[in-house]
Amino acid sequence: MNHSTDRYSSTAKALHWLMALGLFGALGVGFYMTGLPLSPQKLQIYSWHKWAGVSLFLLVLLRFAWRLGHRPPAPVPMPAWQRLAAEGVHHLLYLLMFAIPLTGWLMSSAKGFQTVYFGVLPIPDLIGKDPDLGNLLKTVHVSLNFLLLALVAAHAGAALKHHFLDRDATLRRMLPGRS
């Protein structure tokens, strides 16, 4: 057995898990809030969701910039198709981490509700108010989130398969702490 004990750095781990936590939070809130009847609380939750989205966009920028300068550890030995599939999913996840907040921002603008970060910093509207485009962007935003859920399920499922069935270091090397 190859002992690939090469682990992700603590920065990579922190960015990964912070991102996971943030995405799950924003996504959960996103699905919850759309069904609410209009109330001050609904408007608050919408704003919080948008602030979370802006924060996650900034976080993925940071993460991507950091990643460009730091190579991840070499992959754990596995069949080539698995490595390719993992890489493909990683690329798509990065793409979605950018695309989901972006479509949320555009959708907000098209629906006529500017995003004001933490109620203080107005984020410029790239597009004007256009209800039809707003509805289309909402469909795109929601669909991308379903795609994200599917990819995260595959990503986490694969990590668990490596951990429990293959008993290799794939998951362990991304877990916090040292072992």
Binding site: L38, S39, P40, L43, Q44, Y46, S47, K111, G112, F113, Q114, T115, V116, G119, V120
Partner: protein, 192 residues
Amino acid sequence: MIKQTLGAAALAAAVFALPAQAVEFNAVQADKTQIAFTYKQMNVPVDGKFRTSAASIAFDPAKPQAARASLEIDLASIDAGSQEANDEVASKLWFNTKAFPKATFVSNSVKALGNNRFEVTGKLSIKGKTLDATAPFTFKQEGTNGVFDGAFVLKRADYAIGEGMWADFGTVANEIQIKFHVVAAAAAAAKK
């Protein structure tokens, strides 16, 4: 004789021309008239507008003190930024549009501030409540039309617009920016 007739005609023309100089703008063009507003929810500015259902104005820039204005706003015509908001503001907590379908403004006085700027004071009635309101506006003549542009801040709590769970200003701010744009044709032009 001919000279005299000409002279009389010239005099008559001069005399009749005089009232025409004092142009009164009094034919409101409803399609060009708009009441717009901006409110803030969670500090996000949201634009909306109303259609005016009836407006009458009599304004002569040379005699602003004699000016009169009354506006009637059809509250059901509101565009509050989204369909969800439009439905909400018709409810009892906001305008209670069923019981109070219209907002009205009737001027008491207009005074000149100089530089084509004026100030109108009058009674603003919304949701069964009548309060004094004052708004500065500018006047501009465009062809045969008089264009009035003004703005003022309305505090929604003064008229109980947004009661109950909406009464707190933490989500929807108390101050609503109101902008009005009224176009009225001159009397003579209106007769054509």
